[in-house]
Amino acid sequence: MSLSSRCGRPNAAGAKRVLELRALTRRFGNATAVDRVSMAVGDGEMVAVLGRSGAGKSTLLNMINRLIDPSEGEILYHGRDVSRLSGAELLAWRRQSAMIFQRFNLVARLSVLTNVLTGRLNHKPRLPKLFGMFNDQERDIAIDALASLGMDDHALKRADQLSGGQQQRVAIARALVQEPRLILADEPVASLDPVNSQAVMEALRRINQERGITVLCNLHSVPLARAWCDRAIALSEGRVIYDGPVGGLDEPTLLAIYGSAAALTEAH
């Protein structure tokens, strides 16, 4: 795997800011999982979020999607604070900021197609969907998404009959049909083998470049970040300790992120 970034587009520092976090904080009891995180993400950027296990990466992403409520701070999307949304507006925001999980979080007993169609639940008309009825247009969209990930042949299989890599691609298809403007991927390849990791990261990168969807991606390894992302943000104990191009992740920075040289070699 080459260490140089595969990104075609320039580092989007100059691009229009779409997402901005201001002193975003989340506490669990006495522990602070995310501590006054401030950052800005440009339109169409692909950003890696790095950090040791327990650094607060998952909490951060879940807060942006609002699966976890922030304790303090703001999440601005195109200048609008989404951190206090509720009701229908909250659901609409979740639709726009699609999540991808480490363990895929598909519904095991549903077909691949139905799993992808759940990505359309927030789109109108909503009532028929409560009874399993999706119209032809939505099925077209879902099958399109599956086809773009090479999964359309598995559409009628049950989700738990697929391999991990296939399941993650189904999960990406589910995210795509949400028609999101932002994709939040929480360690999308941490439970996959190298070949499948490659395929999944490639898919995310392609989506980022072809559709211009902004991607925030928690990653467990630095080479992955270097290979696939424009920019890296590193967390330690809930605080941002690095924010810059992936090329700037030098030895001292990595030491600061991963604490010890031993952990550093592990991370490679």
């Binding site: 979080n105 549903l110 969907k129």
Partner: protein, 300 residues
């Protein structure tokens, strides 16, 4: 030292050995005391219950022969030569009974359906991990408790009064009780639901109801169906006696036969009822096996 041969390190000091023996004895005494007090408590409970329950073993012993004669009178006169006529005589009202039995089964099926559908909705409200708001959860659990604590027959009497004599009262009474019983069982299952698919669906912007339908239902449905079929078995039995208070079904016929000492009628009806119960048990058992065996529902 004898125990040295077993590889157990003997206690060195006679003093500590004595201390150990004393502690051991105390422990044993405490244990024995616990058992003893439990046994005494049990005996006292039995004695009080026997007094309150007017247990008269001597009377039972005296009347034991009546068992035989009671059952003896229930046996119809059947002879090989005239078997057809004898059977016809035994089941003189067979078609009527069959119709009542059918009504009993219908009551059970509709009551189970009615109770299960309500319980399905309430299980999501009641389960602590799924409830839309904590106070909704508390309210739902209390409602279920109330519905399952009141015996079916009490509901039946009330409903006969309100809805009139007939099977409708029976359906509502058993349905309401089933709602309480199934709601509790469903809720317990739902509390153990896998949170991952739930999060996956919720993250797409699905509403609460949508999350329940797409994230929770698929994983819970096999258990729900299995419990529902079990409830159907129970409800057939329950429906068989509702006729006692005028809530429809075979119970009415059975009650009349018992009141009028029509012994052969009792046996005729009871046999039909037992056969029906066994048939439905077998059917439900088979269906349950299929629900559990076939790994999951048809993918939507």
């Amino acid at each position: 030292m004898a125990d040295g041969t077993l590889g157990v390190r003997p206690l060195q000091h006679p003093q500590s050995r004595a201390r150990f023996a004393r502690a051991w004895a105390a422990q044993k005494r405490a244990h024995r005391l616990q058992w003893l007090s439990a046994a005494v408590l049990m005996l006292v409970l039995i004695a009080i219950s026997a007094w309150l329950g007017e247990v008269k073993l001597a009377l039972l012993w005296d009347r034991l022969p009546r068992f035989g004669s009671y059952f003896g009178r229930m046996v119809p006169e059947l002879a090989w030569a005239t078997l057809g006529e004898d059977l016809a005589y035994w089941y003189w009202n067979g078609w009527q009974w069959l119709a009542s039995l059918w009504q009993t089964v219908l009551i059970a099926i509709y009551a189970t359906l009615f109770g299960a559908i309500l319980a399905y909705v309430f299980s999501f409200l009641a389960a602590r991990n799924l409830t839309p708001a904590p106070w909704v959860g508390v309210a739902a659990r209390r409602t279920l408790e109330l519905a399952r604590t009141v015996p079916e027959l009490v509901f039946a009497v009330l409903f006969v009064f309100a809805f009139g004599i007939g099977p409708l009262a029976g359906v509502l009474a058993i349905g309401l009780h089933s709602f309480g019983a199934l709601g509790k069982l469903f809720g317990d299952v739902a509390e153990n639901a896998d949170p991952e698919p739930l999060r996956g669906v919720r993250a797409t912007g699905a509403s609460w109801a949508q999350t329940m339908v797409y994230g929770a239902t698929p994983q819970l449905m096999p258990d729900y169906l299995s419990y529902g079929l079990m409830r159907l078995e129970i409800n057939v039995r329950a429906a068989s006696i509702l006729g006692f208070v005028g809530a429809g079904g075979i119970g009415q016929e059975l009650y009349r036969a018992i009141k009028n000492f029509d012994h052969t009628d009792i046996s005729a009806i009871a046999l039909m009822l037992i056969a029906a119960v066994m048939l439905i048990d077998a059917l439900c058992g088979w269906l349950r096996g299929r629900v559990i065996g076939r790994d999951g529902l048809r993918a939507l």
